[in-house]
């Protein structure tokens, strides 16, 4: 019986697992990366956007397979355009086909003479390396990307995530508050800053950023988990508990494990109370 339950759990976990967090933003006002990435565009925003100029949009609409076929057919028409290989890579990225995504990002990097395109390719390749937990390589690629096109936000943002992941909070804060991010309004930027300050131990600073995030985004599991930790630090066990209960399960195994840890902790603390 126990074995069966374990197996069932594993199956459920496996089927529910995903590789990435769903971070769709419906309001463009909260998406400071909107003009560099469609990854976080919500459905309504995507629908409004015409795909005729940039067919890659269709990949984000759930039509990656068809879009890739169309890219094949339009090879001769589009191969000379700047983003052809990049966008094919992104379509594969959306499908979790990492090897193919990496291949086309690399192709874009090799074949393009355009600094902008190279920068983008480097950024995306960096992300692929992160997938494979090759942090140093990924970091180098992001650095290269930032160097090639310093005006881009996304590489800076991605680097900030890496810093957060490995505890380099000051560096993350610096990236997200200076340069192109100065004064920008963004869910993930605010969350990242709240996260950094929390892990630095500055609850006040952290709280200020959490306060700026629209409430409905606290259902996102990574935000919920971080905010729960904040509340725990603030001794608001109940609040933390509610946040965790209300969260949307991301399906990402690593985050699920973190959420489970927090829930266990909350359970103990609630008992103590």
């Amino acid at each position: 019986m126990k074995t069966t339950l374990i197996i069932l759990t594993l199956i459920i976990l496996a089927s529910c697992s995903s590789s990435r967090i769903d971070r769709k933003i419906d309001n463009v006002a909260w998406d400071s990366l909107a003009d560099e990435s469609y990854l976080r565009w919500g459905e309504s925003r995507l629908e409004k956007q015409s795909s005729s100029q940039l067919p890659v949009i269709n990949c984000y609409k759930g039509k990656a397979k068809e879009t890739l076929v169309q890219y094949k057919k339009d090879y001769e028409k589009l191969v000379g355009t700047s983003y052809y290989w990049l966008h094919i890579g992104n379509c594969y990225f959306v499908q979790d086909a990492w090897s193919k995504a990496e291949f086309y990002y690399q192709m874009s990097l090799n074949e393009s003479k355009n600094a902008t395109v190279k920068s983008i390719a480097l950024n995306n390749l960096g992300l692929i390396h992160f997938k494979h937990e090759q942090w140093e390589k990924g970091k180098e690629l992001l650095k290269e990307s930032m160097k090639t096109a310093s005006e881009f936000k996304v590489p800076r943002y991605n680097m900030s995530q890496l810093y957060l992941q490995f505890g380099h909070y000051d560096k993350a804060i610096e990236l997200l508050t200076q340069g192109p991010f100065k004064g920008s309004q963004d869910i993930d930027v605010y969350f990242s800053l709240a996260n950094a300050w929390l892990y630095k131990g500055d609850l006040e600073a952290s709280g200020k950023y959490f306060a700026q995030i629209p409430k409905d985004h606290f259902r996102r599991e990574d935000i919920a988990a971080t905010y729960a930790l904040y509340l725990i630090r603030k001794n608001d066990i109940k609040g933390a508990s509610e946040i965790m209960k209300a969260r949307e399960r991301s399906g990402v195994l690593e985050i699920t494990a973190i959420s489970q840890k927090i829930e266990k902790m909350l359970a103990v603390k609630m008992k103590e109370e």
């Binding site: 983003y83 193919k100 970091k139 840890k261």
Partner: protein, 962 residues
């Protein structure tokens, strides 16, 4: 006389008997028998001692008999040998006759000399006279017979009658008709002579000869009428045969007609000759009437047996009077007669009932004669004055030839030819040409080379004159040339004709015929091969100009099969040209954007059975390219496979670079599987080439296999084709790529097996560090155990060291727990010494901890160093906190304050060390921006690592800000 008569009777009997004997028994020699009889009697008589006049006379008679037999024999010899071509003079054959005649005459005169007054004397002279008349050359018959007559006074005497008759016959034979008349007139007075009819007949002839036609006719009529009397010899047949002539000579032919019609049931056999005679005498009208009567008789009595002869007579008649049109009409009727007769005779078995056709050859000859005559006349008239020839005469000639063609079909070819020549002679070119064609075709059928040549010569001359309308002229010229070649494929003129005929066909764009001409030309004149090939090339050039791919393909196939022994290079060139034309239209289509149609076009070429393998493979190749341009990688590959099946190895080799480009395109079109299949195909096929192309295929093969995440296949590629490349560094590059992939995937088992297979640097070292990283990063306990086991199995100094450190760290964790769990003082009563001892013991433990595990903070395993340092920081934190937290029981307040203060300071030392560890760690991590598991794990809140994960929260870029 009686004896003589008796002898005649006996002889007659003998002859008849002999004749009966001969008739009865074919083999009996009648002559020998007779001679035997006569000579036997002669011997008997000669043996008689006393030969009186009767006997002597008898002997004279026998000599006469023998003389007759000898003459008969000599005559037979003469007739036989003269037909055999023996050209001896006639007299030589009758030498024996003459000699015996002389002997007989001598005997006779000897007899008379011996018996000068014998009663036989007139008989002797009679016999001598007959012998002289019939067998001698001494011209003494008249003398002897006159003597006989003179010796017999009685005019009614039979000897005298016979002598007069014989004399009359002699004069008749000697053409002394007047003298003959005298004696015949005497002879006919003897009415009891059974030969009266003959005498009258001969007399009629004498009258005729002296142009006393009335008497002649009277006499011959008398002969006819007397012949009806059985007392006389019936010579009606002879009369009938001749009486017609009598009337004609007498210029009274119609009376003759009347005579015949009146007195004969079937006068036809006599009327026709009479008609001819009348014709010859210039009695045209009468002749026509006679012939017409004959026709009436034939029609009325249904006597078709005479029709042939009558037609002949008519032909003669019309020809005689130059009535050519009538002649031709009769010829036509004649032809129809023969046609019906042939048909009838075929069905009739009874020979007697068959219709006569023996005169066919004569009929043919007569028609030919007239046709020839008129033909010459027409030609002559034409020569003198173009407008003067007689159209009617021409038409007669032509119709005659028509008749002859039917009648004399064995010589049809001649008549066709003559007909054509006739047209030619009157410059009716339009009629002449087809007539020559007829003649040629007939000559071909009957294999008549002579007339065939003549007809060709004439036809070629005619076409050479260019007097016909252009198209017609060409038609006939073609005919003449082509038939000439059929007749004489190897011939001086034919050798000239072949290229000329080719030119004509080529001009007409009739490649089939033009090539047939060349083929035959080549067969018979292989020495002209170069020219023949040049000609054929022109045909091909025309098709190339016209872009006639169907024709071109057909001829390319023919050339490949050996037609005109074209060189391989030439054939290939033609194939290439064909391919280019075929493909051009579809390539244009593709260029204009209609790729679907272009692909279909190329595919249709491939499936078409007309085209050669080379064209097909090119078509398939182009189809593959177009499909690829449309993004259809699988279809493209399918067509490439089809192309390969039709290629030779050489041809495929030529396409390698192109196929490499196609392969590059395939993976760029996201089809890594197909691209991989291409590489495998090439690596296998052209392994021995070992060139840059092979190397690039190799690279692509490894790359595409890895993109499809198939390391086994990628590795298989490395091992299978490592000897097929010219850049050995690609192997290590490939291995590196596989290693990197396996490491990226976190595939412990895969990586392990890989390193076992390729136990070389840098993989051996990289492998150890990968495992080390995974040991610290991955959460799976099973994996960690597997890594530890692997480290142990590697038996490497470094990994052994790592193992020691890892074990040590585990121990450190346990010892930390012990230190954390340790209670420094919990006794109810405070004892300073005891406390100090306890504290000292605890601190010694901490010291021991430090001594045992401090080295771990310097470990080359970064994660371990970080964790160990954190550990140390935590241990010192624990120790400091624990010392500061000691609150011994049973102590007064002042002592408690002092004690607490002292412990606080002691504890602070440790807390300071802990902080220092943290500070140092933080600085080290910050300075190096360390991104390891260790640094992540210590960056936690409430021991919970950061939910932020660069991959999960990272963002891909799609574009640049506009």
């Amino acid at each position: 006389m009686i004896v003589l008569l008796r002898s005649f009777i006996i002889c007659a009997f003998l002859f008849s008997a002999a004749g009966v004997s001969a008739a009865k028994e074919k083999k009996v020699d009648r002559w020998n028998e007779l001679m035997k009889l006569v000579t036997t009697e002669m011997k008997i008589l000669e043996s008689t001692k006393k030969k009186g006049p009767d006997l002597r006379y008898r002997m004279l008679e026998l000599h006469s008999e023998i003389l007759k037999l000898i003459h008969e024999k000599n005559n037979k010899e003469f007739l036989a040998k003269s037909t055999n071509g023996d050209r001896r003079p006639k007299e030589e054959y009758f030498k024996e006759t003459r000699t015996y005649y002389a002997n007989t005459k001598e005997f006779g005169f000897a007899f008379l000399k011996e018996y000068p007054n014998t009663v036989h004397k007139p008989w002797v002279f009679f016999v001598l006279g007959l012998n002289s008349r019939d067998y001698g050359r001494d011209n003494l018959a008249e003398e002897y017979l006159l003597k006989t007559i003179a010796m017999v006074n009685d005019p009614h005497n039979s000897l005298r009658h016979h002598a007069e008759t014989a004399l009359a016959d002699h004069y008749y034979n000697e053409k002394q008709f007047k003298d003959a008349i005298v004696y015949y007139e005497r002879a006919i007075k003897k009415s009891e002579d059974e030969w009266l009819t003959k005498h009258l007949f001969n007399l009629s002839w004498c009258y005729l000869k002296v142009h006393d036609f009335d008497k002649a006719i009277k006499a011959i009529q008398a002969s006819y009428f007397k012949s009806k009397d059985k007392s006389y010899v019936d010579i009606r047949d002879q009369v009938l045969e001749n009486i017609g002539s009598f009337y004609v000579y007498a210029s009274r032919p119609l009376e003759g007609l009347e005579f015949y019609l009146k007195h004969e049931k079937d006068p036809v056999p006599y009327l026709m000759p009479m008609g001819l005679k009348a014709m010859n005498k210039g009695h045209m009208k009468e002749t026509e009437e006679i012939l017409s009567s004959v026709q009436e008789l034939i029609n009325k009595n249904k006597w078709p047996k005479y029709q042939e002869q009558l037609f002949h007579t008519y032909l003669d008649f019309y020809r005689h009077y130059n009535r050519f049109s009538d002649h031709e009409k009769t010829s036509g009727q004649f032809v129809r007669y023969y046609q019906k007769a042939d048909e009838f005779n075929t069905k009739t078995a009874d020979k007697k009932l068959k219709l006569p056709v023996d005169g066919r050859e004569d009929a043919i000859e007569k028609m030919r004669s007239l046709a020839g005559f008129l033909q010459v006349k027409v030609a002559k008239d034409m020569k003198e004055d173009e407008s003067r020839y007689n159209e009617d005469e021409l038409n007669i000639v032509l119709r005659l030839f028509d008749h002859l063609i039917v009648l004399d079909h064995t010589k049809k070819v001649e008549y066709f030819y003559f007909r054509a020549e006739t047209f030619y002679s009157v410059r009716r070119w339009k009629d002449a040409a087809p007539s020559y064609v007829e003649a040629i075709l007939e000559a071909k059928t009957v294999k008549n080379e002579v007339l065939g040549r003549k007809s060709f010569d004439s036809l070629l001359a005619l076409t050479g004159m260019e007097v016909l309308p252009k198209d017609e002229n060409k038609k006939f010229l073609i005919f003449a040339y082509s038939e000439h070649l059929v007749f004489w494929p190897k011939d001086e003129r034919s050798e000239q004709i072949y290229p000329k005929l080719f030119e004509i066909y080529h001009e007409m764009h009739d490649d089939v015929k033009a090539s047939q001409v060349l083929a035959v030309f080549n067969k018979y004149y292989p020495e002209h091969l170069k020219d023949q090939q040049k000609h054929m090339t022109r045909v091909l050039d025309y098709f190339i100009d016209q872009k006639n791919t169907v024709k071109l393909a057909h001829w390319v196939n023919e050339m490949k099969a050996g037609f005109l022994s074209f060189s391989k290079e030439t054939v290939e060139k033609a194939e290439i040209t064909l391919g280019n034309i075929l493909f051009m239209q579809y390539q244009d289509m593709a260029k204009k954007g209609d790729r679907v149609a272009a692909a279909k076009g190329f595919e249709s070429i491939y499936v078409h059975k007309l085209y050669t393998d080379k064209v097909k493979y090119q078509a398939a190749f182009f189809a593959a390219m177009v499909q690829l341009e449309m993004g259809e990688t699988s279809k493209s590959y399918h067509w490439l496979e089809l192309a390969h099946a039709r290629m030779t190895d050489e041809q495929w080799q030529e396409r390698r670079v192109e196929e490499l480009k196609l392969t590059e395109r395939m993976y760029r079109l996201q089809d890594f599987v197909t691209a991989f299949n291409m590489t495998k195909l090439h690596l296998k096929k052209f392994c021995s080439m070992k060139d840059d192309t092979q190397s690039r295929f190799f690279e692509i093969g490894v790359m595409t296999a890895l993109v499809e995440e198939n390391t086994k296949v990628a590795e298989g590629m490395l091992s299978s084709f490592r000897n097929c490349i010219n850049k050995p560094e690609l192997i290590s590059k490939g291995l590196q790529q596989i290693y990197v992939f396996l490491e990226k995937q976190g595939d412990f088992h895969g990586l392990r097996l890989f390193v076992q297979r390729h136990s070389v640097e840098p993989y051996i070292t990289q492998y150890r560090y990968s495992l080390q990283k995974w040991y610290w990063e991955k959460s799976s306990l099973t994996l960690k155990e597997s890594i530890l086991a692997e480290f142990r199995s590697l038996k490497n100094d470094e990994t052994s060291r790592w193992l020691v450190e890892m074990n040590l760290f585990e121990k450190a964790k346990k010892d930390r727990d012990i230190l954390e769990a340790h209670v420094i003082w919990d006794k109810p009563v405070f004892d300073g010494d005891a406390y100090n001892k306890s504290l000292e013991a605890y601190l010694l433990k901490v010291q021991a901890f430090k001594n045992s595990y401090q080295a771990l903070t310097q470990s080359t395993q970064v994660d371990l160093a970080i964790l160990a340092t954190r550990h140390f920081s935590q241990v010192y934190q624990i120790v400091g906190t624990k010392i500061q937290a000691v609150r011994p029981k049973g102590m007064d307040e002042a002592t408690t304050v002092a004690f607490t203060g002292a412990m606080k300071n002691v504890g602070q030392e440790f807390l300071g060390v802990s902080a220092q560890f943290e500070k140092n760690l933080a600085k080290a991590l910050k300075d190096k921006e360390t991104l390891t598991y260790g640094s992540r794990s210590i960056a936690s809140v409430e021991n919970v690592e950061n939910p932020v994960h660069s991959f999960f929260t990272g963002v891909t870029m799609d574009k640049a800000r506009e």
